[in-house]
Every structure is written in C-alpha cells, then in structure tokens.
Amino acid sequence: MPLDAKPGMDFKVIGTRPVRPDGIDKVTGRARFGADFNMPGQLTGRVLRSPHAHARVKSIDVSQALKLQGVKAVVTRDDFNADAVDPALMDVLVNVMARDKVLYEGHAVAAVAAVDAPTARQALKLIKVDYEILPHVTDVEEAMKPSAPVLHADMFTDGVEPRPTKASNIASRVEFGHGDVEAGFQQADVIVEREFRTEAAHQGYIEPHAVVASMGADGYAEMWCCTQGHFMVRNISAHLNGVDVSKLRVTASEIGGGFGGKTTVFLEPVALALSRKANRPVKLVMTRDEVFRASGPTSSSYVKVKIGAKKDGTITGAYAELAYQGGAFRGSPVDMGAMCTYACYDLKNVQVVGYDVVVNRPKQAAYRAPGAPQAAFGVESVIDELAQKLGMDPIDLRLKNAARDGTKSSYGPTFGPNGLIQTLEAAKNHPNYKVKLGPHQGRGVAVGFWFNFGGQTAVSMNVNIDGSIALAVGTPDIGGSRASMGLMAAEELGIAYDKVRTIVADTASLGFNDVTEGSRVTFSSGLATVQAARDAIKKMCGRAAQMWGIPEDAVEWKDGHAHPAGANAGNFPPMSLADIAKDAGNTGGPIAGHCEVNAEGAGISFATHLVDVEVDPQTGRTQVLRYTVIQDAGKAIHPTYVEGQYQGGAAQGVGWALNEEYIYGKDGRLQNAGFLDYRIPVCSDLPMIDTVIIEVPNPGHPYGVRGVGETGIVPPLGAVGNAVSHACGHRMTVVPMSPPRSLKAIKG
C-alpha cells in the first residue's frame, strides 16, 4: 500500500498539545472504569482459588454452596467443554479454570454468583475441593534441572534435535544470530562473561481486572470490561463458552493501566459462564491480592552474557543464553528477549540461545517490551564493564558498535532508518551527562530497542451534519491515543482538533482490531485514521464536484476546503467541510470514511537512558538523583503523551530495578501480594524524569510515527544497574537491587 508522506511535513496541528478527550472525566471522577458498570439484577461473582502451588484436583463438590440461600450459580471445569476448544487456546482455558491439576497458588478452581458479596464469599467456603498435593518448583533454574517436578507430562522441548523422549519443564529452545562467535572471541583483546538474574515484576496497573457479563435467555450476550483488547476478549470468551462471536458484544471501559497485563483474559469467560447459568448479569472484580496471585506478571530470568572486544572497542563476538519462566504454561517472552538481546549493536558474530521454562507460578502476561529488559540488563551491564576495562567512555563504546540504517540485526532483518546514533549523541551532549558526581554516587548509561507492531485495524469516520467528526477506533486508549487520533484526523481534514471526537467503539460497531499492544496504536490506528480521512476527503470532493457540476478529479482538498483543482476546473468559491456536510442529505446521503487494514511498516524505536544514583553505604538504599530518557519517536503526534510514555517506562523500570519482586516462600506461595510489600515507586522516590524526543521519521507511516510505548522500559535495569555498580564499587548482577542486596555487595 503506497503511503504518501505529507509533502514537506509542515504540520498545523500535529505536534501541539491539546487536552485529551478523556482528561476532564478522569480528573473529575466521571470516567467509568471496569468496576463502575452495573446492571439491574446484577449478581456478585467471586472466584475460588487454589491455596497450593501444584496439586491434582481429585474432586470438586459444590452441592453445599448451591444450597446456600442467595447463591444463583456455581461454575467449575465441568462447565467448559474442553473437547470443543481450539488447541491453540487450551492453555487459556486451563488458566481461567483449572482442569485436572492446579498449577500455581491462585489458580481458579470454581466461581460463584450470588446476590451479594458476603453470600458469595460464604459460598466459596462451602465448596469442597479434594487436592492431592504435588511437589512444586517456582525458580527458573531449579525447574530446568532433571530432578525438578514436571508440570506437564506431555511437554517435550521444542526446537531440539532429536526431540527429547523425556518430559521436562523446558517448553522450547530458540536460537538467533549469525557469524561465528567462537572465532569472534579468538579475535578479542578483552572478554567479559557474567551471569545475571532478574525477579518477576508485575505491571502494577492501579485498576484491578473487572467485568460485567450479561447473557439473555436467547443466548445473546453483552460484556463490559477493562481490557487492552475487547475484540480479543469477545473472540476468546465466546469460543471458550461455545458461543458464536456475533452473539457477544463487548464494550471496553476506560482503563486504569494495563502495560501489557490486560492483553489476555482472566475473568471474562468465567463471568459469561456464570451469567449464562444464572440467567442474570454477573460482575466479577479482582481484589489486589488476586491481581498479584492470579493475573500475569512478567518472567523471572537467568541471563548469561559473554562479549569480546578489541582494544579500540570493536566488538568481535557476542553470545548470550537466556532462560525465562513463563509461569505454569509455555509462552514466556524468551523468543522476543532473544531477538532484542543484541538488537542495538552492529555485530559480525552473534549468537543468542533462549529457553522457555514452565514453573508453578501464574501464567505470565506481556509487560511493556516483554522479554527485552531482562536480556538488556545483562548486555548493558557487560558493555559497561567492557568500557571500564577498555578505559572508554560508555557512550563512545556504544557509538562505535551501534546499529545503523542498513545494519543486519542479530535476529535477521536489516534495519532501515532509525535514531539510535542520534539518541547516543544527544545523551553525550546532554547537560545531565556533565554534572559532577559526589561521594557514593554513580552514573549509568544503557540503550534499548523494541520492534513495535502494526496489525489488524479498522477505523470509521463519520462526517456529522454540522461539520464535526465522529471518529471510532477499536483500540482501547491506554496512553492518550484518542487525542493522537483526533490530531491526525484534524491534520488530514484541515480542521480544528476540537471538531473531532474520538471514541473507542464496541465490538459490534467496527471490524476486528488487534489488541492495544506492541506500541501499535498511534502507528496502526493512526495510519488507519489518516486513510479513513483520505477516504472521506475523496467522497467530499465528489460531493463538491457534483454540486459544481465538474468532474471529481477536478476537485482538490486544501485547508479543510474543497477547491476547483485549477483555472480550467471552473471558478467556484471553496466549499468548507461544514458546507459539504450540511448538504450531504441532498448529495447522496451520509458521508463517512473507512479503513480496514493489516498495518505493516511499524518502525523500530531505540532509546538511550542516563541515570545518576546515590547509594547509602551503610544501608544499601539507592536514591535516584536524575534520570534522562532520549528516544526516537519518528514523529511525536502529541509530544506530552510521548514524554509520558518515556517517563512511565523509566519509572516502571526504576521500580523493577530497585525494589519490585515476586517473593515466594518454600511452600510455593507468594508472600507479598499487595502494594505494601510489592514496592512500586511512589512519586517522591523519583526525580522529575527529563526527556528528549528524537524524530527520525518512520517511512511506514504517513507522518513518520514510530511506536513509543515499550522501548522506555528496556534500558532502565541496565542503566540503574550500571549506576549502582559504580556507586558501590561492585558489579550488580541481580535485579532488584534492593537495599539488602546492595549492602551485601558493599560489605563484600
């Protein structure tokens, strides 16, 4: 599909910073989030969850619960027909409702719908589950040992030749790279090799999962929920319940954060099953405790990195080995981690091997650039150590080896134009790189990469009678994207931003849209919005042509008006969009623009982060003094929300680097399922995060947009790790670098 870049790129509204459509509602409390939806006659649902990390479910007796007054329905594994489920969705089914085994503490085993919450809670206590407790494993390295308890008797490592005959917890092995790493290491003057470990972090979205499902007696259903992808929720919930997709209509609520964690289903298919059985609307809302135990945190990891370089800094060989646990099911993001490991570097000899491992923990879900931060922690730490050994500035060492336009990436494709070099140069020239450090302070640098994604997208744009625009997109807005769509529509149509109202339409009102993930929305829905606007413009030019009695191609669109294309076309005064809209009823009926597309050409995005920290030498506590994010946005449609993504990624990365971690007891149970002991940073833990937006246009988008949502969380683990290492005089290799770990490192 040819995409004409806007000539000269002299934007009128793109790059301005208007208020977002949802802004006032959110600060006044009028916005409706998942748990704010209620229906007449609605029941309260609650989920019974496994107290065991690993057990066989011998029987489930719900008879006493059903006898309790006020209980309207109970569902268990028996209410889902596994035989009719697409094998590709089997793990999703097993995760939302356990079948023969519970695979982690918090795994759902039954759900009830009752007239109120106390009755529902009481009913859960009356359900008798007979468990046969099995040995468990929660640590990724332990799970890989031959002696580890095996979660799935039918798991034989994929990607290994010959195929293993013994079942194990290693779901698959992946490998990427090119050249000959051994030969590369032979040419090296200096080699650094180290092992790293990162603990699992949770996305920490403030809004817990929530859904209301209502199925009528005719089998048609509606659902309201907080999700990053209501089309995905519709398709999966309908399928797992054996319902036609057309019989379920899903509306996405406002969303209180997702960060990847709401790109899958947890409660929704269960709510639908309960509603069907009770014949009443059913609402399910997770507690924070359930969010931690039963939604999807990211992987914990083991990462080994070996890099060799010549005295002048040229990297001659780079190797890495990654093992990521994805919770109790295959599908950790180790493949993406392996692809990203060395994406920032232009390398002759590179090899990355990854293992996808299952353990008795909740099924991981995407978290901002899934898989990349863990690998980057290892690589960026080793690069930093190499710079120390070579006596080079860490930015210079990266500049020497940085990926450029034309670099063959370590995972295969050859990169097009990108902004890595520009981010490094901007970092080097940034005033924050020149501040003098005091005692116990350290500075860290790291770079990061994320692919970004396009995907299936449908947009509909209605030209209203008064010349205002109703723009419907199908991608839930998790970072201000409605404002960006409005800006792109206004730019293309040549009208004011406040004439466009962007909404997220329900699943019955638009064609299929992929989930809001992969930093895809401003790129894909933006591209579709521009295309839909061009479609509407073409139609409006047609209407003008009709009114003027000239051929359609003799009309052109400029500054929000139809104009005769030249002197030969006739001498008609320009007609505004509003003029054309007003007469639409007489010129052929409603005017609308559409675009249905599988968007390709999402541009990669690189970033460089700088951070200064101070570590208290007597307590090991780290305070972040200054933080700078420099990233390529291609084109910042709404710069404030681009900066917000940069700052948000850095803030989450700092939290993960310093304090956030899933802590398991020997019993396989999570010990810190709450925000008191799972420590995300509070405002006063962070300095104002400085940002620099680099704009190297992405040729795949009409305005040059690249996704910006995810790259920002890739460098922080390495950047903070390097800064803390310099401040303590000891190389940090475990994330989080919590005070006990840092103090131990300082004390030696």
Partner: protein, 286 residues
C-alpha cells in the same frame, strides 16, 4: 456485625465486656477497617470510641501530657508543647501513612495494633510513656511496651481498653529522635527502626538514655547495653561506636519478605547511631 458509639468509657467497657463473640475497639480505624475489608478479622461488635469527649483531649498532667485514645496524629503534630518536648514521638507520627491517614490514625491504635513495626511506639517507650487501661475491674497504668504481647496481640484482658496514654515531662537537656529504614521514601513499613531519648547534664555528660529498636523482634526491643554504652560518657566517637555495636547485638530479627536478618542487624546499629547523633544535637541545643 454490630457497630456502637457509646458516649462514656464506662459504657464502652460495658459493651465489650458483655459481648460473647469477638469485640473490637475502634479509634481511628486506619488499621481496623483495612483488616475488616481484607477479611482478616470478622468481629461481631465494633465499638467506636470517638464520640467519648475525653478520648479526644490532650491534657497537661505533672508537666507531661495525657493523650486521649482517639486523638489523631494530626492534632498531636500541631501540639506545640508536645512537639518541643518529644520531637522523636512526632517524627514517628509524621511517618504514619499520609496526611489523610494521619487525620484519623491515633497513638493508641498504633500501640494496640501491636505491630513490631509501629512507627510511634519506639519513641513512646524511650520517653517512658504509660498506658491507662480500663476494664470491668477498674483502671491500671502499665508501661506502653507491655501493651503488645506479640504481632497483632495485646496483653489487654477481656473487656479492657486503653483510655489514654501518658507521656511524662522531658528532663532538661533531653533530646529524642526516631528514624526508620524503608526502601521507599514514604507509604512503606519499617524494615528496621530506632527511637531514642538522650539526657545530658550541664557539662554534656550523658546521664540517661533509652534506645529502642522496632521491627527486629516480635515486640519493640529496649537495647539496654546500647544505652549503657553512652551513659556516663560525653558521647564521643568511642562511645558511639560501642553503642552502635550493642544496638546491632540487641537485634534479634528474622529473615522475611521485608529484609534479611543480617541486613536488619547491621542497619539497627546504623539507625541507632544516626538517631542518637540527632538526639544529641537536640539535647545540646536546649
């Protein structure tokens, strides 16, 4: 669950003494309501003390302060004389939650919740505070450190409640300080803490000291050897070093999700020293 708001202490005692199920007293509710909502406790009766006028008063007594059980942390922070006499107690209160939480939270609730990490308790102990307990068989005064029995448990008998807390006058040249260690800057719970009180004579020799550690045992720990290390000295470097080591030695923490044993022992000494240094500064300034 019944919720009662009696108008007198006697009525409150009568209600909780008569309850055959589980009775809970509510002051600010910032612990109790959280526990209720989380389903950690399911009381049959909740007795709210805030309607009893006397529980909301701070009165002068023998040069010190008698603090009604429902007085909020925010009111205490605004009390000039208390702030001047015992800055360490105020420092503990200032750390509790947020401005909103402090509008409700009380000293008595912090004490009776019996968390080893309670922020106002170490300095209350260092100040020599006592709790006045009323019950069906009358009133008694006990040192505040004897109210908690262990995490989440108190030594109060059936039908008893804390009516007030008495904080004695501070002797001349007394300084106090409270410090806690948390990974975050705020909205966190003490991994280790130290509340200290130090009294000097006119020549600068330490005549009395009390060094109290929080979150390193099931209850607050009074580090007597640490206090002895500075009493009778000019609190010089040697005495401070001895005090720090003694404070670490007094700590008997466990490994848990909030920190390792090793870390808490080390940091207990560090905080005790930093708190004593600050308290000394205050004592010398008086």
């Amino acid at each position: 669950m019944r919720y009662e708001t009696p108008a007198t202490i006697e009525a409150a005692v009568g209600l909780i003494a008569a309850e055959t199920g589980i009775a809970r007293v509510l002051s600010g509710g910032t612990d109790l309501l959280v526990q209720l909502k989380a389903g950690m406790i399911e009381p049959d009766l909740v007795v709210d003390l805030k309607r009893i006028a006397a529980t909301r008063e701070i009165t002068a007594e023998a040069g010190g302060f008698r603090i009604g059980s429902a007085v909020s942390a925010a009111s205490l922070r605004e009390h000039k004389a208390l702030r001047a006499a015992w800055p360490g107690i105020i420092e503990g209160l200032k750390l509790i939650g947020s401005t909103q939480v402090q509008g409700r939270a009380t000293l008595t609730g912090n004490l009776c919740n019996a968390s080893p990490a309670a922020d106002s308790v170490p300095c209350l102990v260092a100040a020599g505070a006592s709790a006045r307990i009323v019950g069906p068989s009358g009133k008694r005064d006990i040192p505040v450190q004897d109210v908690p029995a262990g995490p989440g448990r108190t030594n109060l008998a059936k039908g008893e409640l804390v009516e007030s807390i008495f904080i004695p006058a501070a002797a001349a040249h007394t300084g106090s300080c409270y410090l806690r260690f948390t990974p975050r800057t705020e909205m966190d719970i003490a991994v280790v803490s130290a509340g200290v009180s130090v009294t000097l004579d006119a020549s600068g020799t330490c005549t009395a000291a009390c060094i109290v550690l929080g979150a390193v045992a099931a209850r607050v720990t009074i580090a007597e050897e640490a206090a002895k290390a500075i009493i009778g000295t000019k609190v010089d470097e040697a005495a401070l070093a001895k005090m720090q080591a003694a404070a670490s030695a007094a700590a008997t923490p466990i490994d848990d999700k909030r920190g390792t044993k090793e870390f808490r022992i080390e940091v207990a000494g560090v905080l005790a020293r930093r708190a004593v240094e600050k308290a000394l500064e205050r004592a010398r300034g008086k």
